[in-house]
């Protein structure tokens, strides 16, 4: 099997069962997904990183999944990639390191997302 998911699906299979109208549509399948969403947005909103940087991370995480050998990929779970992107960014930006400087304390002031 190819690692390219574009070739993995059956064109006749139709859409996912969750492909329904507006009514009763779940935004999140589990509370941790909602939490992970809120955490990533909050850190960006309060100036810890530009949103674009998170987005690039997410694209990278999903790309790595798509390029991996099929048997290593497992099930598609969007928010696992979201969490991987978030954790990587928190590490790289040193948010949990001693001496991390909060955005409002940085020279030149905070660049707020809004």
């Amino acid at each position: 099997m190819s690692g390219d998911h574009d070739d993995d699906f059956d064109p006749e299979a139709g859409f996912h069962p969750s492909c329904v109208g507006d009514v009763g549509r779940p935004d999140f399948d589990a509370p941790w997904q909602r939490r992970a969403f809120g955490l990533a947005v909050a850190l960006s909103e309060f100036g810890h990183y530009p949103w674009e940087e998170f987005q690039q991370r997410l694209i990278g995480a999903i790309g790595a999944w798509q390029d991996a050998p099929s048997d290593a990929e497992g099930r598609w779970e969007y928010y696992e990639h979201w969490v991987a992107a978030l954790s990587g960014l928190v590490d790289d930006r040193g948010l949990l390191e001693p001496g991390y400087v909060m955005p409002e304390d940085r020279e030149g002031g905070v660049t707020h997302a809004r």
Binding site: H5, P17, D27, A42
Partner: protein
């Protein structure tokens, strides 16, 4: 619950624990407060909803000059309306509207990840993030639209817009027939999230949307 929700417990539990630990650490280190995430989520869930998009589309339907401005410079036109504060931020700065017209149908996808126009459409539906949907919609949009019940004749051009970090497209659907006497508020009720993604048409009057 469908099969999709029956995840192995360990994988699901591991993700939940990871998120919980990350937030707890960020609070402990003073990077965020215990209320930060709830406040941000509350704002998104109460203000950044498809209601904003419905109001934008309804205005475009009743005001052709606004409709033209909306297509020419979306953030500027949107700022004319009294929509929630934050419409300009949180990914709203790159909003870009495309308009369906006789002979032209627009559909919005994202082939890389979910770059959804939150401020006008709320959070994306699950299937929009599914690689199968994204890949198929990019490759065979006419087939996909037909499956979704969007009638397209052979003369109608399908334009596929790939949302990205730079542009967050949404579709201004065509105003349904038989809506001449309707108010802007009544018209807004005919606009669904799916219609603003181009994977459905605006509802006919009386059909209901919610």
């Amino acid at each position: 619950m469908t099969e999709r929700f029956s995840y192995p417990d360990d994988r699901e539990a591991a993700s939940a624990a990871q998120v919980r630990a990350l937030e707890a650490l960020l609070i402990e280190k003073g990077v965020i407060s215990g209320q930060t995430v709830d406040k941000v989520l509350g704002y998104f869930e109460s203000e950044m909803t498809p209601l904003n998009g419905r109001r934008i589309v309804a205005r475009a339907w009743v005001d052709p000059a606004f409709s033209d401005r909306l297509v020419a410079d979306t953030p500027k036109a949107v700022s004319e309306l009294d929509l929630p504060v934050g419409m300009a931020g949180a990914e709203g700065e790159h909003l870009a509207a495309v308009r369906n017209e006789p002979g032209v149908h627009n559909v919005v996808i994202c082939t890389l990840c979910s770059c959804f126009p939150w401020p006008v459409l709320g959070l994306p539906p699950y299937w929009y993030k599914d690689p199968v949907f994204r890949a198929r919609a990019a490759r065979e949009p006419r087939v996909v639209l037909t499956e979704l019940g969007v009638p397209l004749d052979d003369d109608t051009e399908v334009r596929v817009w790939d949302s990205s970090g730079h542009s967050r497209w949404f579709v201004v659907p065509q105003r349904p027939a038989g809506t001449d006497g309707m108010t802007e508020d009544e018209l807004a009720e005919l606009v669904t999230t799916e219609a603003m993604m181009g994977v459905a048409l605006a509802a006919a009057p009386g059909a209901g949307t919610r």
